[in-house]
């Protein structure tokens, strides 16, 4: 924050004192700084700069973080055109991670005549963070003008142009600095230079002129300054393909294959370059040749299996599968699993392997891995008891292989014997306590069996536990998403089970835990997003614009990832369940009546279940009560804004569920229509129509009811219940069943029973648990 010190003092005594406070602040002596400011404010309570600085010092001194913001706002009210106040406000809002406000006030500081150019650098970081690409080039260029001696500032300006969609100017800026720097490169600049050359080439290619891109590529290659040889080759091949110079491209792909014969992508690209995709004979000949060049690589042996049929397939499959089984490759089944999409291939492979199995009794390990393969086959085609028989054969034969136990547990899981599954996994774990993989699996299986305590105890072997009773806090700190989401889902199931048993206390505790875990997950993703902040500057300095742009893309889709969908699905479920069963939280379950023993147990549970230190709401009780009371669902509404992909299926479902609870039925109608356009058979369409038709809140004004029913007429005029069933609930899968589980009318429940009959036992179990709370 030392930049603030550059402000010139004016003559007045107040100003001098303010300067002193600023100096103290800059040297991190916040408390002393506060004392001086208080002196100024005593004489002149309207001194805006001091008010602002007081806010900042309060924030950093940890004395009174809560009232820090009020000083900032008061300072801005007094004098919102003072650039010192503006700058301080910018610093404050950046510190509290309100990047939009920070950008606004940094900008204001510049607009109101600050001569401190380094503000532009912070401003551009904030603009990048909030994706204000329209204004970004201005601040990047402003800073470049002030500090043209650093390549980082040129790179940053080019990136800004590109993000704003102005490729031509991006290219121009990169070209200019390249010319300026050409003769002055030191060895320490070589990496940056290489990256910038490649970046400029990317920009040229993105403009769509591949001829120019290829020419530029040849130019930079000739300079011998590009260190990333792989990129050079991949780009060259790509451009040649786009320019329809396929013969030349094929030569480059062959070079790439030589570098890495295990990358399946290159084989397919070579096929395309040679144009053999649709002539199976030539294609096969090509692969036979490639397999002889690269005998140790998998793709040239595997890929032909994806396009051969009949006797030829059988012969090749035999060589492929048996070769691996003989060598004792544990992943043989996983390797051929993609071929199982074709039923006749599956049958062929099965007959090859089961025949082979009869001949290997005298080779113990081959025998064992073959039995393992066959067990996986039976599992995959849904014959669980066959699978179990086979894996037991293998385990009795060689009981020391961990993989066998993992599969056995998996079979039990699919049979919905969840406790048994977890205990088998644990047997495997005991064979090798230092194997993290099996530890993780065992933990997960305990969670699936809703034995959260055993799960936490198991994984705590690998966590840093310090003075907590287990690794829960460490797992939160380490952002162990898989663990937290699995435990949240487990708590949600435990909640529903407790509800089914009319055990209100248990239900409430578990729903609260689920909610807490889901909230932690949203915070982890928020942290991911915040983690970008430093890189807007850092990547430019390090000269890694290509990696930077990859990061920007990643972050743009951060909240639309399947994992985050899963988090939001669970978060909304736990919140909406709390609202639907508000009696759990609003009636007092008589804490006073607790016996001593119960109090001790509860305290133990608090210690055991704390996800962060000194949490005053371990059970999520207060938070949920608040949500139920204020009825605004802020916790969910906030999430709606994060979903960038407005055209994603999940977004519509999530928005519908939240808005339906908020009685914003017109918005619900919009989500429904969007979903219909995206995925016209999605079971949620049936759910939404039913909700909007039959389950609007009683208090809904007639006008709204009218709008909704007219809205429904448009697409669903002829959709009666029978029609809904047929169109949206025709599939016999888990997804459909989970939607139906929320619909109480008898016809839907009848259809649900039908689907459940056809599901595997594990999926059926999951549906039954959801039904418990609806």
């Amino acid at each position: 924050m030392s930049k603030t010190a550059k402000y010139r003092p004016t003559a007045s005594k107040e100003e001098n004192q303010f300067r002193e406070a600023l100096k103290l602040y800059d040297s991190k002596q916040y408390k002393k700084s506060l004392k001086v400011i208080d002196g100024v404010l005593k004489k002149n309570p309207h001194h805006a700069e001091s008010l602002a600085l007081k806010g900042l010092a309060l924030y950093y001194s940890d004395t009174d973080k809560a009232s820090a913001e009020s000083y900032i706002t008061r300072a801005l009210e007094k004098d919102s055109t003072n650039n010192v106040v503006n700058h301080i406000a910018g610093i404050y809002y950046r510190a509290v991670k309100n990047y939009k406000e920070a950008a606004k006030w940094y900008q204001a500081a510049m607009d109101h005549g600050s001569t401190n150019k380094s503000i532009l650098r912070d401003l551009s970081s904030m603009q990048s963070q909030i994706r204000d690409f329209k204004n970004l080039p201005k601040s990047r260029l402003g800073y470049l003008e002030d500090q043209p001696g650093y390549r980082a500032n040129w790179t940053a300006s080019a990136v800004a142009h590109q993000l704003h969609g102005d490729l031509a100017n991006a290219e121009k800026v990169l070209g200019r600095i390249e010319d300026l720097i050409r003769d002055k490169l030191q060895e320490s600049d070589y990496f940056e230079h290489s990256e910038c050359l490649l970046y400029r080439n990317d920009v040229i290619a993105q403009m769509g002129d591949y001829e120019a891109a290829l020419k530029d590529l040849e130019r930079i290659e000739a300079t011998n300054m590009v260190l990333d040889g792989l990129s050079l080759l991949e780009k060259r091949a790509d451009y040649l393909m786009k320019l329809n110079r396929k013969k030349e491209a094929s030569l480059v792909y062959r070079k790439l294959l030589k570098r890495n014969p295990d990358n399946a992508k290159y084989y397919y690209q070579l096929e395309d370059a040679l144009g053999v995709r649709n002539s199976p004979r030539v294609r096969l000949a090509l692969y036979e040749k490639l397999a002889s060049f690269y005998p140790k690589s998998d793709p040239p042996n595997f890929i032909p299996l994806t396009f051969l049929a009949g006797e030829e397939f059988k012969q090749k499959a035999k060589n492929y599968v048996l070769g691996q089984l003989r060598r004792g490759v544990p992943s043989t089944f996983v390797n051929v699993k993609p071929l199982y999409k074709n039923n006749s291939h599956a049958a062929t492979i099965y007959s090859i392997v089961s025949e082979f199995f009869e001949t290997v009794h005298d080779q113990p390990l081959t025998y064992c891995w073959t039995a393992y393969f066959l067990a996986q086959h039976h599992y995959h085609v849904g014959s669980y008891s066959e699978a179990l028989k086979m894996i037991e054969l293998a385990i009795n034969h060689t009981p020391t292989l961990v993989e066998l136990y993992i599969l056995k547990a998996r079979i039990y899981k699919r049979m919905n014997e969840l406790d048994q599954a977890a205990s088998v996994m644990n047997e495997g774990l005991k064979l090798d306590l230092q194997d993290r993989f099996i530890n993780t699996k065992t933990t997960k299986y305990y969670l699936r069996a809703d034995n959260v305590h055993r799960a936490i105890d198991t994984i705590s072997v690998f966590t840093k536990n310090d003075d907590s009773p287990n690794g829960l806090r460490d797992l939160h700190l380490m952002q162990s998403i898989w663990f937290i989401v699995e435990s949240a889902e487990s708590y949600l199931r435990k909640y529903r089970k407790a509800l089914g048993e009319h055990n209100d206390t248990e239900a409430k505790t578990n729903l609260g835990f689920a909610f807490k875990r889901y909230v932690s997950l949203t915070k982890i993703f928020e942290e991911f997003s915040d983690d970008q902040v430093d890189f807007h500057h850092y990547c430019m300095r390090k000269g890694t614009p290509r990696a930077y742009l990859t990061m920007i893309d990643w972050a743009d889709n951060l909240f639309d990832q399947p994992m985050y969908n899963r988090v939001l699905d669970g978060l909304s479920e736990s919140v909406l369940e709390a609202v639907r069963h508000k009696e759990l939280f609003l009636t007092d379950h008589g804490h006073k009546k607790l016996k001593k023993e119960e109090i001790r147990k509860r305290e133990e549970l608090v210690q055991y279940s704390q996800s962060v230190a000194e949490d005053d709401d371990v059970f999520g009780e207060k938070a949920l009560q608040e949500i139920i009371r204020d009825e605004k669902l802020d916790v969910l509404v906030k999430q709606q804004a994060l979903l960038h992909q407005q055209d994603a299926v999940f977004t519509q479902i999530f928005n519908f569920r939240v808005n339906f609870q908020l009685k914003k039925y017109v918005l619900c109608l919009q989500s429904l229509n969007k979903l219909l356009a995206l995925d016209k058979r999605n079971p949620f369409i049936g759910y939404m129509v039913d909700q909007l038709r039959n389950h609007l809140a009683e208090s809904t004004p007639d006008t709204i009811k009218k709008i909704v029913s007219v809205g429904l007429m448009k697409n669903f005029n002829k959709a009666d219940t029978a029609n809904l069933l047929e169109t949206y609930f025709g599939a016999n899968n888990l997804e459909t069943a989970l939607v139906l589980a929320r619909m109480s009318e008898t016809v839907f429940q009848t259809r649900l029973s039908e689907i459940k009959e056809k599901l595997d036992p594990y999926s059926r179990g999951l549906v039954s648990i959801v039904q418990l709370s609806y």
Binding site: G328, P364, L365, Y367, C368, H397, T398, P399, T400, L401, K430, L431, D432, L433, Q434
Partner: protein, 148 residues
């Protein structure tokens, strides 16, 4: 193909599985603490056999009479074919020598399977073994003398 290795705190669970036994956690810990006296045998890196021995300590003497093999077992599917037993036995002989001892003992109900490895009958009622209660009903004490 065959290799031997020490027991570690993390793989003690293998003992009961390979030996079809049910040692308690404490017993397993003691076996591990005996260090070189216990050993796993691996066939193509899969653990399939194990040997556990301890010094045979006569009541009347200060130094041990030799090493007593407590357990020597190989999973049935791997037993008697690949020389795993031989490797384990050779290992025991080596540590016996290392300790400047010259006899290996075993107590068994099935003496014939030990004869081929050079073990011979030993009278357990000798003064040397008094009060050790080595053999139970139906068992024999066998001994192999090592020539240095």
């Amino acid at each position: 193909m065959i290799s031997l290795d020490d027991l570690t705190a993390n793989n003690l669970g293998l003992i009961n599985v390979i030996a079809y036994a049910s040692y308690s956690d404490q017993e397993l810990e003691e076996i591990k603490e005996s260090g070189e006296l216990a050993q796993y045998a691996y066939y193509n890196e899969v653990p399939v056999g194990l040997v556990i021995c301890k010094p045979l300590q006569p009541v009347s003497s200060k130094s041990p009479a030799g090493l007593l093999i407590d357990k020597l077992c190989v999973l049935p599917a791997y037993s008697g074919k690949y020389g795993l037993e031989d490797s384990l036995l050779e290992y025991v002989e080596n540590i016996t020598r290392k300790r400047h001892l010259d006899k290996i003992y075993v107590v068994t109900e099935d003496p014939s399977q030990w004869h081929k490895f050079g073990f011979v009958y030993e009278d357990a009622s000798q003064e040397l073994y008094r009060n050790l209660n080595l053999v139970k009903q139906g068992q024999q004490l066998l001994r192999k003398a090592l020539n240095n």
